[in-house]
């Protein structure tokens, strides 16, 4: 194997190996663990940089091991996987820094960071998976390595949340596995190919293919939190803030959405899926989820729960974009994969900062918090406005392309009302938070002030990650049309998908 074949493996290994080593470190060796974490994250970032350059210039990076005849383990870098790998890598680096600050002096840090690295390795693995079989393997691995992270605190509530999470995702994984095996029997090994491969199957298979699609989407939909399979997500918010951040922005929820994108575009092919009439069903599920999630978010007082339901709603923008036939809708869905990630991770970082610094867990406790923690609250505000779709934050670009795509596909009659309803609901549950934070007078004391205001409003490792990701969210929207922006990359993906 040469360098081109090793690169995808190295990208996965750059977090896998440090993770495995970290398990065996003593609890007190703080410095070594931090060094390993950061070295892994930075190395991965460099490798991904090479990957981006190569894939942009149509270089092929592929590693392949044959386990059994017709059953290959394939890591392959195409435009879509590079998009997701880049997102995971950048946000992993930021989240690692945040987690180091967040878990200062907390117990079981080696266990935490070990699983944390494994979690990212699994995410990157499923991003680089070159066929459905490899994807499923990493998908199941992801479930297993996130379980300890959700349960990390060890409280009865955490254990219960983690168990619900495991039940849901293992169930979903089962459906996905059945679907995959069925498809394997029907069509042989299914590599991810731009434009899909199943369109060439004879017409008598079509009913079966529809059933398989349903199974696959339901399996993936559990992680992507499509209604009514979203039940685990609000419970899983008992996890520590960095885990919630990564879970909602990159790892689990996004893996489900990414899987849906893969199945529609690179297994079935979007035109073939449309022929089978599958896109309408997916679109309706996404629309229902978008509205339902927003309405539920409106009812929550617990800040993290509100954010969790917001994820339910926002991630379905990706599925909605997938269901819109035509390159522009595709761009909208895929670019939201990135945009939702950086905006939502900012929100969770900020929520974690409020909890860690001042003991604030509820929206109703946030009166005047903008005065005490201006930078965190500013980051929160930028991300929240982006979620509503206010220009120039990233969310606006997603909404723009989804709307434009729906119009071009002639689906505006129901997509546009959903988008507007979602924006209005987002405004209804985010703007009151901002109002409290900036305009209300703070109460006599914060619920539990852990970190006193010194040079910064909170400790530096907690402060900078949300500020940086908020700036990324702003930049992703403001420089959307610039080269190498998420939008440009999503456009590249859509063009290769539709063969433009």
């Amino acid at each position: 194997m040469n360098w081109d074949a090793w690169l995808p493996v190295l990208v996965v290994a750059s977090s896998l190996l440090p993770g495995l080593v970290i398990f065996f470190l003593r609890e007190g060796s703080h410095r070594l663990r931090t060094a390993l974490n950061l070295a892994g994250a930075i190395l991965k970032l460099l490798l991904v940089g090479i990957l981006i350059w190569g894939v942009f210039h149509e270089h092929v990076y592929e590693s392949r091991w044959t386990l059994a005849p017709g059953l290959d383990l394939v890591l392959h870098a195409d435009t879509l996987s590079v998009l997701f790998v880049t997102l995971s890598t950048v946000l992993w680096l930021v989240t690692t820094i945040y987690a180091i600050g967040y878990l200062e002096n907390a117990p079981h840090r080696s266990r935490f960071f070990g699983f944390f690295s494994l979690c990212v390795s699994a995410t990157v693995g499923l991003a680089l998976a070159g066929n459905l079989f490899t994807f499923v393997i990493f998908f199941e691995l992801l479930t297993l390595v996130t379980y300890p992270l959700v349960a990390h605190r060890g409280t009865p509530e955490a254990v219960r949340g983690a168990r619900i999470y495991l039940t849901y995702t293992l169930g979903g994984g089962m459906l996905l596995l059945i679907g995959t095996v069925w498809l394997h029997v029907l069509a042989g090994p299914t590599a991810f190919v731009e434009g899909g491969t199943l369109g060439s199957l004879p017409a008598e298979y079509h009913p079966q293919l529809k059933m398989i699609f349903l199974l696959l989407i339901m399996g993936l939909g559990v992680k992507a939190a499509l209604v009514p399979l979203h039940g685990w997500l609000p419970h899983a918010m008992v996890a520590p803030a960095p885990v919630s951040a990564l879970l909602h922005a990159v790892a689990v929820v996004k893996a489900g959405a990414f899987g849906i994108v893969r199945v529609v575009y690179d297994v079935y092919g979007v035109n073939f899926a449309d022929q089978l009439g599958l896109l309408t069903g997916l679109g309706i599920a996404a629309a229902v989820t978008i509205v339902y999630g927003s309405v539920m978010a409106l009812l929550q007082d617990n800040l993290k729960k509100r954010l969790a339901y917001s994820t339910v709603s926002q991630v379905s923008y990706i599925a909605l974009g997938t269901a819109i036939l035509g390159p522009i809708g595709t761009i909208g869905g895929i670019v939201h994969l990135v945009h939702q990630g950086i905006m939502k991770i900012t929100l969770f970082f900020a929520a974690g900062n409020y909890a860690e610094t001042l003991g604030i867990h509820k929206v109703s406790e946030m009166n005047g918090v903008g005065r005490r923690m201006p930078a965190t609250t500013l980051a929160f505000s930028v991300a929240a406005l982006g979620m509503i779709g206010v220009p120039p934050v990233a969310g606006f670009v997603s909404k723009w392309y989804l709307g434009l795509g729906a119009l071009e596909a002639g689906m505006a009659a129901w997509v546009m009302p959903v988008l507007i309803a979602s924006s209005v609901l987002n405004a209804a549950y985010f703007l009151p938070v901002l109002y409290r934070a900036w305009f209300r007078e703070p109460g006599p004391a914060w619920p539990a002030e852990h970190i006193p205001a010194a040079r910064f409003e909170t400790s530096a490792t907690l402060l900078w990650p949300p500020v940086v990701t908020a700036m990324l969210a702003l930049a992703a929207g403001l420089f959307a049309a610039a080269p190498y922006s998420p939008l440009e990359w999503a456009t590249l993906i859509a063009h290769r998908e539709y063969g433009l």
Binding site: R371, V390, G403, L404, E408, Y435, L478, A480, A481, A482
Partner: protein, 557 residues
């Protein structure tokens, strides 16, 4: 250099917003609108700069309309900044105010130089949302409610406009530059979306519900730009998004004419019923926006005359922006400083200007607008005259309310605020003479004269027949039109009874009785300080006699 200046119109207010918390920050708001004024003065018309990597591809540029908008908006922001610079203290509240002030400024001035739909929408949204922070600034229940109402309407407007802009983009295969958008009329649903979306900002009747309360609570410097500059962004939106002179939009023009005329009448009537100067100015704005809407409707309804009418509408917008902004700043001076003679004189001048009396900017704007109207639009002249007449009444009532409300000196404003106001007054007084041709300054003689006459009559009559106000029937200072109408009718009934009784007693020609009634009236006069009797110009009387004189006015034209 030119393109850099156009960029600075956006960038400087945004960059300065980052410094708003610094120690000597009170003056940074004054620097922020300077690039806009400089661009309006120095950048040649037709300059443009294209930034394809920014947002979805940004185009900035300056055209004739943009230059006028930039000039009056920049001027108003500058004056308001000067006014605010002196009056703000340096606590965290002031920092917050400054940030929202600068953001709203960036949005407002930025949207004027935007030459594509998305950057216009960006500026419009930035301005709309930042203005929330200005309205919600005072920490009162009242301000909170007004701001929330404003926000709900604003977001509704943003959503409609978002759909409209996306649909326009889809119609032109993703291109959003105004030069392309104006090449063909907007299809299908886009027109109503644009008319309502921008109509909310322009406070068309029915879409105005956010406006009066917002004007009542917003700090003076902010309400000056809110009522002067920001409200005009709705008009600019129409001018930018609707292709001028397209025959396909004639029916929509007719609809706008109806909306505009309704606005003129509604704003005037509702304004006369208000009991605080700020609310009155708010309804006066609704009435004046009715004039602009009528002008826009005329431009669409007579496509061949559109270029001329649009010039007139833009001039009218500039006049209204400066005068309304100055009226609010003057009112702010009264609220903080008490009613000094020179402030009173200035307010009288501004009131005359807004009413459009001869030799003021109002007369100039009115005569340009009148001259631009084509054949077949003569009936609009009547409504324009009505507007001038009604504004005269409104302004008389405004001056009366200011005089009545003149407070004790609470917290005197520093010299900067006063100088800023006087500067603006000087500009308003001089600019019509600088650009108007002979004869253009002599409009509105009859309606304004009638208005003043009627005001004097009403003032006398109200003094003659006071309303007995018990604590139970005391009217709330604020309230919607329906409530005020009901109360006005009750007032009218009350006064009507008084009138009839007086007439009856006079008809008996009994000297003793007349004398007794005079004595009684004198007695009541003396008791007025008991707060039992209120000497006030109630709306009912205004409407009653106003209707009579309006009939006279119809024949006078």
């Amino acid at each position: 250099m030119n393109s850099f200046l156009l960029l600075l119109v956006w960038l400087l207010p945004l960059a300065l917003a980052l410094l708003a918390g610094q120690r000597y920050a009170s003056w940074i708001t004054v620097i922020a609108p300077l690039p806009a004024l400089l661009a309006a003065a120095a950048v040649p018309v037709g300059s443009s700069v294209s930034l394809p990597w920014l947002l979805l591809g940004v185009e900035l540029g300056l055209d004739d309309t943009g230059r006028v908008f930039l000039l009056f908006s920049g001027l108003l922001w500058l004056v308001a900044s000067l006014y605010a610079a002196g009056s703000l203290t340096s606590d965290h509240m002031a920092t917050r105010f400054r940030i929202f002030f600068l953001l709203a400024m960036a949005g407002n001035l930025g949207l004027i130089v935007a030459q594509d739909a998305v950057s216009f929408y960006l500026g419009f949204t930035l301005m709309g949302l930042a203005a929330y922070g200005l309205i919600a600034h005072p920490a009162s229940q009242h301000a909170r409610r007004a701001a929330r109402r404003y926000l709900v309407w604003t977001i509704a407007g943003e959503m409609l406009l978002f759909v409209a802009v996306v649909m326009l983009a889809a119609q032109h295969s993703g291109v959003v530059s105004f030069s392309v958008l104006q090449s063909s009329p907007p299809g299908g649903f886009v027109m109503p979306l644009l008319l309502i979306g921008f109509g909310i900002k322009l406070a068309l009747p029915g879409l105005h519900l956010w406006l009066p309360q917002a004007y009542a609570v917003t700090p003076t410097a902010a309400v000056a730009v809110l009522s002067g500059a920001m409200i005009k962004a709705g008009l600019l939106g129409w001018l930018r998004f609707l292709p001028p002179g397209d025959a396909a939009l004639v029916n929509w023009g007719q609809a706008l004419l109806v909306a505009g005329i309704t606005g003129i009448c509604f704003g005037a009537i509702a304004g006369l019923l208000q009991r605080t100067p700020r609310l009155l100015l708010g309804y006066s704005s609704i009435s004046k926006m009715g004039v602009l809407t009528t002008g826009m409707g005329a431009a669409l309804a007579w496509p061949e005359m559109a270029p001329v009418i649009i010039v007139a509408v833009v001039i009218y917008a500039a006049h209204h922006a400066l005068v309304k902004g100055a009226l609010f700043l003057g009112l702010g001076l009264v609220e903080r400083d008490g009613l000094r003679p020179w402030v009173q004189a200035g307010l009288v001048f501004l009131a005359l200007s807004l009413a459009g009396s001869p030799l003021t900017s109002g007369a100039f704007a009115k005569s340009v607008l009148t001259a631009s109207l084509p054949q077949g639009a003569e009936y609009l002249l009547f409504f324009l005259a009505t507007s001038a007449f009604a504004t005269t009444l409104l302004m008389a009532r405004f001056l009366f309310l200011v005089w009545k409300q003149r407070g004790s000196k609470m917290s005197p404003l520093p010299a900067e605020s006063r100088i800023a106001w006087l500067m603006l007054l000087a500009i308003i007084a001089v600019f019509p003479f600088a650009i108007a041709e002979a004869g253009q300054l002599m409009a509105n003689v009859i309606p304004v004269f009638l208005g003043i006459l009627l005001s004097a009559l009403v003032l006398l009559a109200a003094g003659r027949f006071p309303v007995r106000v018990t604590s139970r029937s005391r009217r709330p200072a604020t309230g919607g039109l329906v409530l005020q109408c009901g109360l006005a009718i009750r007032d009218l009934h009350c006064r009507g009874t008084l009138v009839i009784e007086t007439v009856r007693s006079a008809s008996r020609n009994c000297y003793a009785r007349v004398r007794r009634s005079v004595e009684q009236l004198l007695l009541q006069l003396c008791r007025s300080s008991d707060a039992d009797i209120r000497w006030q110009l109630a709306g009912g009387l205004w409407l009653f006699i106003g209707g009579l004189l309006l009939t006279g006015l119809i024949f006078s034209i």
